[in-house]
Structure formats: C-alpha cells, structure tokens
C-alpha cells in the first residue's frame, strides 16, 4: 500500500524571504502573475522547466520549493482542533497519535497505522480510500 501524494509549494515563503512581489517573480520567470498565484496556492501542476526556473530564481533546491506530502497528511493538517478530536474519538486512537500524523514521513506513517485504521480515518474525512492510497 502506497500513499497518494500531492505537490505543495513553498514558493510564497521563499519569495517573501527575498522580498519579491508576485509580479516581480513572475517577470523574472517570464510568466503571468496568475501563474505564480496558482503555484502558491499549490493546486497547480507546473511544468518541470518552470519549476526549475522558479527554484533557481528563489535560490532553493527544487525538491524544497515543491515538495510532496501524502494527501492524508495534508488533510489532517487542515483540520480544526474540534474535528480532530471527533475523529480520534470515533476511530478509537488517542488525539495525540492522530495529530502525530503531521510529523511523520511516509514510512513512519505506514508503520504506525494499520490499513484498517487508515481506512476508518479516510471514511471519516469523507474521502474515498482510492483517493488516498495506491493499492
């Protein structure tokens, strides 16, 4: 069982470190400001050359600028405290254990939780199992 992943970007963070605006970065890369906007949102799958260019301009390695997280981890991170408590209660694991998902890498994640629990969590998140995992 493998985790499905999504790409998240730290473009915004790195850009602000350099004190650049979206427009300035866009000009340097040679794309429209909207492209940068969508990139920062993280729901844009850029081309590899564009990613390289941006990473180069931001002076950061590509895999740091655009990193991947398992979708389930991303989902858990975005939950409110209340919802997290509710889920941990329903699944029957401690709140701290559920929260620790956000600090685990993929390998730790698959060791710490068995498939049945992950299935339950996916269910409570109203996600299809196939959206989160590759069997």
């Amino acid at each position: 069982m493998k985790f499905k992943k999504k790409i998240k970007s730290r473009v915004k963070e790195f850009r602000e470190e350099l004190g650049l605006t979206q427009q300035e970065l866009a000009n340097r890369v040679g794309v429209s400001r909207q492209t940068i906007y969508y990139l920062e949102k993280g729901n844009y799958n850029p081309s590899l050359t564009l990613s390289f260019k941006i990473a180069e301009i931001l002076n950061k390695p590509l895999i740091e600028t655009f990193y991947r997280v398992p979708i389930i981890k991303d989902k858990i991170e975005s939950l409110s405290f209340k919802k997290l408590k509710e889920i941990s209660k329903k699944v029957g694991i401690s709140y701290n254990k559920l929260g620790s998902i956000t600090e685990m890498n993929e390998k730790e994640l698959s060791e710490a939780f068995d498939e049945e629990i992950l299935r339950k969590i996916a269910n409570l998140l109203e996600l299809d199992f196939n959206e989160l995992f590759i069997n």
């Binding site: 992943k5 790409i7 906007y37 969508y38 949102k41 729901n43 844009y44 799958n45 850029p46 081309s47 590899l48 050359t49 564009l50 990613s51 390289f52 260019k53 180069e56 390695p61 590509l62 895999i63 655009f66 991947r68 975005s78 409110s80 209340k82 919802k83």
Partner: protein, 277 residues
C-alpha cells in the same frame, strides 16, 4: 484558518427599517387621497357643511387609513417572520442561506461561483446603522433576468439587515481564496497533462517541445540502471509509452507531478534525472 464554519442571523432592526419603508410608500398614497377629498368637499359646496365633513372623514378612513393600517400590521408580522426564518452559514465549500416566509428557500452558493460582493448601505439602512450584503454569482438566473431588463432582481446571495458586514466580507474572501483558487474544469485541462486524452496529449507534447529543448535528461541511463524497459516504466508511471520515448529524446517538458512519479519509479531524485541546460 480561524474557524471552519460561521453562521448568523439578521438584526431585529431590519423590521423597523422595512416598516418605515412601507409607511413612506403609503404616504405617497395618503396625500393625493387627502387632497382629492378636500377638493371634493369644497367644490361640491354642500348645503350642510358639517355633514359633508363627517362623510369625507369616514371615506378617508375607510378607503385610505384603514387599508394602510392593515398593510402595516401585515408588514410587521411578515418582517418578524422573515427575520426569524432568515439564517446564513458558511461551510467549507458553500454559503448556505435559508430565507422565506411562505415559500422557504435554501440557497447554496459554492465559493467558486462567487463573482463579487457588494455591501449596500442605503438611506433607510443608515437610519438604523444596517448593511445589506449582496453576493453575485457568475451566470446566475438573476443576472440573466437583469440583463433582459427584468427590473429589480435580488441576487442569489442576499443578506439584509447586518450590523457588521465586514466580518462577512472578510469571511467570504478568505473562503474564496482558500477553496476556489483555480476555476474547476480549467485546472484539469491545463494542469494535469497526464490525464488528457491521447490526441490532446499529443498536441500538448507538440506545444511543449519548444520549451523541452532546454531540458537535459538522464532518464535513459537511470532506467537501464534500474533494469526497466520503456514499457515497464510507462506502465509504472501510468503514461503512454510515447511519453517516455519523447522524454528520453529530451523533447518533452514533463509536468512536475510526472517528474516526481518517474523519480519515484527509478528511485532517484528529480535533480539527478533532469537538468536545465
């Protein structure tokens, strides 16, 4: 993110505002009636003036004041019910507005459809320090009707009688930017080339070839090192074999997502696989 959902009702002062509006509307009706009756009274020069005066007053009350009083009472009851029935809430993907007195409506507006937000503070609103928030959606029935000269049409998202509209505006803006970054549909067409139909895929490749020239790749070496055939790699990554061929020739600029997948399959880093020339 401050809060996952937000809900609220409208201010009770909204009722007073609506009643004042109705009363002023009624004045327009009372004044001409009053003038008409007075004119009649003097023009007809009745022998018994007192009798005529009483008759005029009775007429005035029955035809004008009484109906207006009834209208005001109905309006009071209606607006009270309207306020009690009105509620709105902001969920993760939608704004839900419940309204209506006789016909109850539950309007669900997805954030991705929101075009603009207007905060209206009219003359009567100012008397009670109230605001109306109008949420316009793209291609709504209301917009279509207005375009055909349908007169006054309320937008789909209509929240009257608010004390602090800024909170709502902020909330909506927060949600819109959070959940509706890329227009749905567009995202799939442009940003997920690996999921395109094959003919679209080819034209996509053609368009990418120019930019692909700058990309240097070691995919062939790394693939052979990992002991994978082109077919096997294509299958593992889930793309047509042509994609791998083009990639190996360095003529195709893959998406970042695909590059990550290939790096996974070959058990290496993207930067080992591809280099900008």
């Amino acid at each position: 993110m401050s809060q996952n959902s937000y809900e609220g009702t409208i201010s009770k002062k909204y009722r007073n505002k609506e009643i004042i509006k109705t009363s002023i509307g009624s004045l327009i009706y009372i004044i001409p009636m009053l003038i008409t009756f007075l004119l009649l009274l003097f023009l007809l020069k009745h022998e018994n003036f007192e009798e005529a005066l009483i008759l005029t007053i009775i007429l005035l009350v029955t035809t004008t004041l009484l109906p207006i009083l009834i209208i005001l009472i109905i309006s009071y009851l209606y607006e009270t019910a309207y306020i009690n029935n009105f509620s709105y809430s902001f969920s993760k993907e939608n704004i839900v507005i419940n309204h209506g007195v006789f016909t109850k409506t539950r309007a669900t507006i997805p954030y991705s459809r929101i075009q603009n937000i207007n905060i209206v503070n009219g003359v009567f609103d100012r008397m009670y320090d109230l605001y109306t928030v109008k949420i316009e959606t793209a291609g709504s029935a209301a917009a279509a009707q207005a375009a055909q000269g349908g007169g006054f049409v309320r937008p789909e998202g209509y929240i009257p009688g608010l004390k602090e509209p800024d909170i709502i505006e902020k909330k909506i803006n927060e949600m819109v930017t959070q959940y509706a970054g890329v227009p749905s549909g567009l995202e799939d067409k442009i940003f997920k080339p690996e999921e395109l139909a094959f003919d679209n895929f080819i034209s996509y490749i053609m368009s990418k070839m120019r930019t692909g020239e700058k990309l240097e790749t070691k995919i062939t070496q790394l693939r052979q090192k990992a002991n994978l055939s082109q077919e096997k790699l294509a299958e593992e990554v889930g793309v047509p074999i042509q994609t791998i061929e083009y990639l190996e020739e360095g003529r195709y600029n893959p998406s970042l997502f695909l590059a990550y997948k290939i790096a996974d399959a070959l058990n290496c880093e993207i930067e080992e696989l591809f280099k900008m020339r």
